[in-house]
Symmetry: C2
Amino acid sequence: MRAATLKLSTLSYAVLGLVARRRMTGYDIARIMRLPVGFFWQARHGQIYPELARLERLGLVSHTVVPQTQRPDKKLYAITATGRRELRRWLLEPVELVPRGDPLVLKAYSIWAVQPAKAATLFREQERRHAERLKEYKRRLKAQEAQWGSTAEDPSSPRFGDRVTLLRGIGFEREYRAWCRWVADRLDQRGAGQPTGRGKAQAARPAGRRT
Amino acid sequence: MRAATLKLSTLSYAVLGLVARRRMTGYDIARIMRLPVGFFWQARHGQIYPELARLERLGLVSHTVVPQTQRPDKKLYAITATGRRELRRWLLEPVELVPRGDPLVLKAYSIWAVQPAKAATLFREQERRHAERLKEYKRRLKAQEAQWGSTAEDPSSPRFGDRVTLLRGIGFEREYRAWCRWVADRLDQRGAGQPTGRGKAQAARPAGRRT
DNA sequence: GGACGCATGTAATAGGTTACATGATTAC
DNA sequence: GTAATCATGTAACCTATTACATGCGTCC
């Protein structure tokens, strides 16, 4: 039954992982890929609809049409037994460390080429944005805990997946914010020959657990 | 002088940032993009040579041919005044928060679909790899400090760029490792109904500064 | 003899974004 | 009226990877 050309991309598995949770439409997937999943994997509907068609040709998902009167008909997709097997296989496959490009870190690499005081503004702004996102993630975590309690600690519940990814987001943002703050502090301290007069001593490195 | 179609990609600025440090060949750029810079931005020579040609057409870099007898001739590229202006402009431009996909986090989202004990292996393996990379970054930081001393703390020195990007890498890897370990511990604790008998209490969340 | 480093380039393919295309319902 | 949500799909375009193409010198 399995098609000869089973060449799947990471997007394929992102989609499979979603339809493995519950039946959903391409529109649902696109919506989820904007927010909660969007924090660690993104896709637009322009990619999702063709991908669903491809997965169906390969026998990994199937759909049923749900007629609607006042809206276009829906296609509800579900994962097949083959699809679930393939998802499980991929899940346990080891992952390569492939760092994704971060434009701010790229800018940091060339930061010596601009006036420190101006550069500091960029990093303060970025610190603010990451602090905001951190706050949002924490809010979500609290909401999860209030709604699900300890079921999110059971590794065989999808809640567990939601929880661990969110905790990754929180760790990431906390660390990123600390780095931005430290870079900005350094730039202000030595910037443009103007002593800032701030009383606090500057740390030699960003805050972080010592290991 | 500035060409009408000045539409640059992030890669363009990565290349400009490198030739702003010192004159170099496409081959040099490709090599640096594998290692130090490759940790936060990657590009292969298949992308770099056409990009250099494009930047030269736009007047942002220029090259001189260095004849060699026993190797192919080199093209040494340097940034122009226009290129430096454009690089500075980009550097101070605010950055959008667009996190790129992390396949391990994507797997974590679906981790409920496989046996916890098997999943734990994946995360232990990943923890090991990130610990290795962390060690490598720390080694590089020590080497930098030994070689350059406090010049790397001057924000107008390229060393500063090297240092802050490396410190970002260290923070990232430290945080990532802690997360992997925590997920693996959770999976082992509740996994497959087998009590592990380990004496240590399991933390409710990954270790991290409380803020 | 084979792999690796130096040195440049192009072509085919894969992956991903943006815009085009349609159309009803609801909320401001 | 105008924007947002629901709902699907395609086409043009840009970005990035991999493979093809060449060729000498050095090290094991």
